[in-house]
């Protein structure tokens, strides 16, 4: 639903270079899986795509236009943490996305419209396996449940680009397979462009149409912060011939 083009992107925190010379062209409707060592800058890259931070150098173009300077509903996100609102219970968290979409002025629906939003939200929660926890507050949910809630919330707004930061890290294989199915289905249905950070290479190849590997090409042992990571491998996944077992097969592995 949107193309993305990254040109010679650099990101530095003070003296520490996190990303350098990142170049990328992503077609409409691609599913990019981002992998790389812990701490190499994957979350930072997502923050840049989100306009949460500004690159020190380089540009990002969305549909040929410079990226808007603010985050917006065109790009949805599931963060590693703090992704849900602690003062709203599960169903309210998801309904909030619908309420803002339908009443951008007030950010609040009333009466019938509100009840409709709440019951839609309940359906979406059931989709991510939280049907029984609608009334729970985030503090009452386990880590994996919070993550699933965040996914439901981000999907509710049907963004053109979806950014996922290790969304399935805290899920058991059963639930994870279910979530894989859900994400794949929604991706196919809506045609949105997805960026997903994951540490599970299997998952990256199972879901992605492209796997982007972040790594440092230069290294100075005396100054570990001197050089940043970049995209070292950009692997297209040809699903028909892929030899990697699909996510649903994994369940029966042991």
């Amino acid at each position: 639903m949107a193309t993305l083009r990254v040109e010679n992107l650099w990101m530095e925190y003070g003296a520490q270079t996190v990303l350098e010379r990142v170049n990328l062209d992503v077609a409409d409707g691609a599913f990019c899986a981002l992998v790389g060592a812990s701490g190499c800058g994957k979350s930072t890259f997502l923050r840049l795509l989100l306009s949460q931070e500004r690159p020190t150098r380089g540009t990002i173009l969305m549909d040929g236009q410079p990226l808007p300077q603010d985050p917006g509903p065109d790009r949805g996100v599931v963060f590693q943490r703090y992704s849900v609102f602690p003062h709203l219970n599960a169903v309210q968290n998801v309904a909030l996305a619908l309420e803002i979409a339908r009443a951008p002025g007030l950010g609040r629906l009333f009466g019938k419209a509100r009840r409709a939003a709440l019951s839609e939200a309940e359906v979406m929660l059931a989709d991510v396996g939280l049907g029984h926890a609608c009334g729970h507050y985030p503090a009452e949910l386990s880590g994996g449940m919070q993550q699933r809630l965040a996914i439901a919330q981000a999907l509710a707004r049907k963004p053109r680009i979806l950014l996922l930061d290790e969304p399935f890290g805290a899920l058991d294989p059963g639930t994870r397979t279910q979530m894989h199915g859900l994400i794949s289905r929604l991706w196919r249905e809506t045609g949105m462009t997805v960026f997903m950070v994951t540490h599970d290479i299997r998952e990256a190849f199972a879901l992605g149409t492209r796997v982007l590997v972040f790594d440092k090409t230069r290294h100075d042992p005396q100054a570990p912060g001197a050089y940043g990571a970049t995209i070292t491998y950009d692997l297209p996944v040809d699903r028909s011939t892929s030899k990697v077992p699909s996510a649903s097969e994994e369940k029966s592995a042991p």
Binding site: L50, Q52, D70, P71, G72, P73, R75, G76, V77, F79, R81, Y82, S83, F85, P86, H87, L88, N89, L96, A97, E99, I100, A101, P104, G105, L106, G107, R108, Y137, P138, A139, E140, Q153, A154, R157, P159
Partner: protein, 273 residues
């Protein structure tokens, strides 16, 4: 041996331990009062509980000769109205500017230094200017409470707004929320419990400013009565009045806690949640 931080007293234990310091203070008062009264039965400083009891009956149950009103209730009514107005206005100001300063950098750089300096001005010293601007009647009393309390609430709430995880604000934006919607649906509901905490911490200062204001020009009010009674050191009235003010403040505090528990259950779901 168990660690101190993991020990929890029983229900009765809680009650008993909580009552202990109060009992100790009462006993200390009783001892010193008795000693003083044994020396000078007309001592004004630490009257006996019985003397205070009589004074309470006089102010709380018998109408005053001159005006025909029952002093304690008239005073209480007048003071509570001023306090409610003052705290209400201070809360509104604190909330609006707290959110503004905490959330919007432009507002912060414009207002925060000024509010910071303003909160350092000793309000009492500027009373003459306040009078000329607002007159001697209720307005200036309420204004003194507002001036005394609002800067604190404002700064405290701004700090709390700044503490909200940045991820939440970004997340709200990715759901399409405008600044206004972020305020209404993300920021405001999350700082309301803190507003209540701030209000609780402001009750003491608010009473302080109320009493100071009532000392300046008034015809009724709890602070007025205390200052009047100070004219002839009628501690038998002053001490019950102070106890009454403390009681009223403690009750308000309790009510605020209850409101917070009921209305913002999510904020009490356990540590660090």
């Amino acid at each position: 041996m168990r660690r101190l931080i993991n020990l929890r007293p029983s229900r009765q234990g809680t009650f008993f331990l909580g009552a202990l310091p109060f009992a100790i203070v009462l006993v200390i008062y009783f001892v010193f009062s008795s000693l003083r009264l044994a020396e000078n039965p007309a001592d004004k400083l630490m009257p006996a509980f019985s003397t205070m009891g009589e004074a309470i009956v006089r102010v709380a149950a018998e109408p005053e000769q001159r005006s025909g009103t029952i002093v304690l209730w008239a005073d209480t009514g007048a003071s509570l109205v001023r306090l409610a107005l003052g705290l209400g206005i201070a809360t509104a100001i604190g909330l609006v500017f707290g959110i503004l300063n905490g959330l919007i950098v432009y507002a912060r750089v414009t207002l925060a230094p000024f509010v910071g300096v303003l909160s350092m001005v000793p309000p009492m010293a500027l009373l003459p200017i306040l009078f000329i601007m607002l007159g001697l009647e209720e307005t200036s009393k309420v204004a003194l409470i507002v001036i005394g309390v609002a800067p604190y609430l404002m700064r405290d709430l701004a700090l709390r707004v700044e503490e909200l995880p940045g991820e939440q604000l970004v997340k709200a934006q990715t759901l399409g929320a405008s600044t206004w919607v972020i305020v209404a649906r993300v920021v405001l509901p999350q700082i309301l419990p803190r507003l209540i905490d701030g209000l609780r911490l402001s009750l003491g200062p608010a009473w302080l400013f109320l009493i100071a204001a009532e000392a300046i020009a008034s015809t009724e009010g709890l602070g007025y009565r205390i200052f009047l009674m100070r004219r002839y050191m009628a501690m038998d009235v002053i001490l019950p009045y102070v106890a009454w003010i403390t009681f009223l403040a403690a009750i308000s505090d309790w009510v605020l806690v209850q409101i917070s528990r009921r209305a913002f259950g999510w904020a009490h779901l356990g540590r660090g949640a």
